[in-house]
């Protein structure tokens, strides 16, 4: 095949203009692109940065967890205290328990 006559350009701008005519025609790529898109799973969008409302809600949920632990701890303390203050059974095989203060007092 005979090649086209090529007049060497004098400037780069002229060369750029000449080369524009050499760009091949674009085929219709819609089908191939659509095929590739329907085959590949679409990635999940990245999470957006938190707004002030989200931050408050998050703090709220952390607060609820903290409050839950607080209530559980308070209940534990209360039952322990009640256990400690409950009077001991006084009667046993060796008679009533001797109190330390009584011993020191004597």
């Amino acid at each position: 095949m005979a090649s086209k006559p090529f007049n060497k350009p004098k400037s780069f701008s002229e060369l750029v203009d000449q080369s524009r005519a050499d760009i091949p025609k674009c085929p219709d790529l819609r089908f191939s692109i659509r095929q590739r898109l329907s085959q590949a799973p679409r990635p999940e969008p990245e999470p957006q940065p938190l707004g002030w409302m989200d931050i408050i809600l998050q703090w709220g949920s952390i607060g609820r967890v903290k409050a839950g632990f607080g209530v559980a701890f308070a209940a534990l303390m209360l039952t322990s205290y009640m256990e400690l203050t409950r009077p001991e059974p006084q009667q046993g095989p060796s008679g009533p328990p001797m109190r330390i203060m009584q011993q020191l007092g004597n």
Binding site: F6, S11, V16
Partner: protein, 193 residues
């Protein structure tokens, strides 16, 4: 919605919800423009087809990043510039590019025959081949600047916005690119920009 009459932004918003018909229309509108733009980074048709497809697929997968405050066309073209830039940067790091190989004598090796075919394809387009040989001497950033300045006729301000470079940095890059281009042009017998 009538896709033919819808604006780019309307189509993009529709495509964001996963409507592939709306995205088809976007591809129809811009494939030729992106094809001719990326040709300056990749003059071989088989690779160019993949590159254009990759650009549209990347755009679709990143549609959630596009904000309706800016034009969709500008966002898409920016993606195309980055795709071309990345492609050329990777290709340039390879030891021997196809364009360089086309200058070698081909023997009976099937690979060489294939390369010879590619060489014939470019010999039919001597201007494009000469541009490619000159551009191969430029670094990726320089090639982007030259392409945007000479083919797309963009101002330095527009290039800086498109590439996310500061204006001062763009001026420096442009000056450096022009110097290198002048040197490469002289080596090929072209005296002026």
């Amino acid at each position: 919605m009538h896709f033919e009459t819808a604006s780019d932004e309307e189509l993009a918003m529709d495509a964001q919800t996963g409507n592939l018909d709306a995205y088809d229309e976007i591809v129809r509108r811009y494939q030729e423009r992106i094809w001719s733009f990326l040709y300056k980074f990749c003059p071989h048709q088989s690779e160019l087809e993949d590159l254009v497809q990759d650009t549209f697929i990347k755009a679709y997968n990143n549609l959630h990043r596009w904000q309706p405050t800016g034009t969709f066309k500008s966002w898409l073209m920016r993606l195309a510039v980055n795709t071309g830039h990345d492609f050329y940067r990777k290709r340039r790091n390879e030891p021997l590019t196809i364009a360089q190989k086309t200058h070698k004598d081909a023997e009976s090796d099937p690979l060489e025959e294939h390369l010879e075919e590619e060489a014939h394809a470019t010999q039919e387009h001597p201007a494009a081949e000469l541009v490619e040989r000159i551009m191969l001497e430029l670094k990726p950033d320089d090639r982007v600047v030259v392409t945007l300045q000479y083919y797309e006729k963009m101002t330095l301000q527009e290039i800086s916005e498109k590439m996310d470079w500061s204006l001062a940095n763009t001026k420096v890059k442009s000056h450096r690119a022009r110097k290198k281009l002048e040197k490469a042009l002289k080596a090929h017998g072209i005296e002026t920009l």
